[in-house]
Subunit: 405 residues, 2 copies
């Protein structure tokens, strides 16, 4: 009999608790697993021996159903990068102490490419010191920028929210008789997957988004203003999707100070809004989808949530079969009908790397998304959960905030 | 046999198309009504004789179901205030020409207090010139600030979106181990109804929102910073709800210029974010719910949508019974079980006035909402629509954009 531990890391998504549920449920089914520990605040909980007993928290099927529909990371999160153990192994020693003390034989880390770096480093260390703790990474990120895997849990739900909201914003923007420009800023510092996914509206006969700017394409302010003018000649209400991370030459965050002389932070959307107002002078609005795009679980993709749970269940089986230092990945077999298989990759292949939109997804002008991309995006956004409501509001599962401190 | 016309005005909501549907369906059932015209861009369509034949557009039950779940105003909107007819009656003359030419015997105007002003002025004019066109107002606004009526169609859906999103933001905000402040800016220039509705989360056992600031209460920056510090001593992640229209003494929009020397517009949320960063120095984020709070029909309140349709049906019956210059209103009979009746008020009682949060809804410190308010808010947010989806995205009914030009 072994105990296991699971932790959640990086930015919240709608699917990361479904992966926690997948680990928990599969572990419950495994007679060789005894206690199931949740580590508070990612790997920090293992370092500080701050673990909770998940069996005493998730007491009923109702608890589990609630956990599945709860956004963000119920165990808290962290942005912690392990140091090189050859330079400083003190953190590794602490981790090993916790794992030994708790008789933990497998550790599951749900996270992005930083977390896969942790999986890679820990598994190498455990092998070196002869500690038998299987270490498996479970992918998640709304950014969809992990290598090897076809896509990442959390992305499909974020994409469904972004496309649905863009659709609604399109309805909202067209009502007045004067021309207007609406700029929607979407997460993605280096990769434009989520911004590009808004183009699925084209499959519904919508002309919006009329312009889509992603970090993978060149961007100039002159080109942007020229693009907007051209779309305004065709459409009364022009809708622009833009990744937060598009490369703006002069620097968006510079040059703005408040009345106290302090730097005034704001995003690319606000910057482009001000640019359109100055250069074109029409009605213009910018909208930042902000954290809603990663936490709006009331509109998650059932495909995404189901896959997040399945890939986590597979991680438990993978550890029990003796593998370690692996990251679970999806391989897409077909778009129609959508078919994926779950496989493993070395965590080192996924760690610290980013996957970018293929050139075939971006139009030659670099200001929109091709139809070829839609077959990739659409299957990930299908289906809805049947939500448990309380007082008309989707109910959540939460640990008391004092436990998270 | 008469023809009728219907128009939509003011800011979009999730329920204004349901009211259009209510007028349409009730008119279909009335043998004394022939053509049903939709006026493009509110009263502007009547002035310019720009009408569409709704029977040729809404051809099937499917079309009608789609219309019901479509946000915003499918006929376009306007922000047009009629001049005083004693000073300039040329617009009135144009309106009368259109109505006579189209043989229109009843006009329905779905909108806020500006639209009720139009209803009041037109009915007085028609009486004066002996034109038999019954003119009835149908209330709508997410702001919930119309007088006489218990609440307004559009508000319940916006409130459901705001509370649900605030709930999700609460989950998102608590994940990291460092203290943080999250400020959520909510629409409401003069009245705090929508901001206050986020406090329904307290009925679910949530401590968030920890602070709620509405225009009806006094606000000072010093008091705000003191409130935030106090909440930070109790909670790791402090969540603040703030109305866009809270009175900030020094003026939010002043003092900010971009690198070109142009005024840089932003809202109260961003302003308070910068203030917290400067005064407290902790992690802080502001989130503007922007147009999503008025157009996120994927999460509308079934109670709200049903009432929007019913009140519009009643408007048609009201006109046929010979009334004019009226605005339809709700009178609440009971909170539990929630019971409302539909009545009429003189449009002049609703026009150009605003209804504010009662003092009993605001706590003595002026920084949160009382439990007494929750019984008012909760019934308006109950139930969901079963949405028609296409490619995983809620489908909309839309008129071709060229018609709206």
């Amino acid at each position: 009999m072994i105990n296991i531990a699971v932790a959640q890391s990086g930015g919240p998504t709608c699917a990361i608790n479904a992966s926690l549920l997948g680990v928990f449920r599969e572990a419950l089914r495994e007679p060789s697993i005894d206690a199931i520990f949740g580590s508070i605040n990612g790997i920090e909980g293992i370092i500080e021996n701050h673990l909770v007993d998940l069996k005493s928290m998730l007491l009923s099927d109702d608890d589990m159903e609630l956990l599945r529909q709860t956004p963000s990371t119920v165990l808290g999160s962290c942005r912690y990068k392990l140091p090189d153990r050859h330079e400083d192994d003190s953190t590794y020693v602490k981790i090993a102490e916790t794992l030994r003390q708790r008789n933990i034989g497998a550790f599951f880390y749900i996270g992005g490419n930083d977390s896969q770096d942790t999986v890679d480093k820990l598994s190498a260390y455990f092998t070196e010191v002869g500690l038998d703790v299987k270490t498996i990474g479970i992918p998640k990120t709304i950014d969809n920028d992990l290598c090897v895997t076809d896509h990442t849990p959390g992305f499909g739900s974020a994409a469904k929210y972004v496309a649905t909201t863009m659709h609604e914003i399109t309805r909202d923007s067209i009502v007045y008789s004067i021309p207007s420009v609406t700029i929607v800023e979407i997460m993605g510092r280096h990769a434009g997957w989520l911004t590009a996914s808004s183009a699925v509206l084209h499959s519904m006969g919508e002309t919006a988004p009329h312009l889509v700017y992603v970090p993978e394409a060149d961007f100039t302010i002159d080109g942007f203003i020229s693009d907007v003018r051209q779309e305004m000649s065709k459409h009364k209400a022009v809708i622009v999707a833009v990744s937060e991370g598009i490369p703006v030459p002069e620097g968006v965050q510079s040059g703005l100070v408040d009345q106290f002389g302090h730097k005034y932070l704001s995003g690319i959307g606000k910057y482009l809004e001000n640019t359109v107002r100055r250069e074109i002078g029409c009605k213009v609005r910018s909208i930042e989808l902000n954290v809603m795009q990663r936490c709006s679980s009331h509109l998650c993709s059932r495909t995404d949530i189901d896959e997040a749970e399945r890939v986590a269940e597979a991680a438990v089986r993978c550890a029990l079969s003796g593998e370690t230092g692996k990251c679970m990945v999806f391989r897409r077999v077909a778009d129609k009908p959508y078919t994926v298989v779950i496989e493993t990759a070395d965590a080192s292949q996924v760690a610290n790397k980013e996957k970018f939109l293929p050139a075939s997804f971006i139009n030659p002008a670099g200001n929109n998304i091709t139809n070829a991309a839609l077959d990739y995006f659409l299957p990930l956004m299908q289906g809805e959960l049947s939500l448990i409501m309380e007082h008309g509001i989707p109910k959540h599962f939460a640990i008391h905030e004092s436990v998270l401190k």
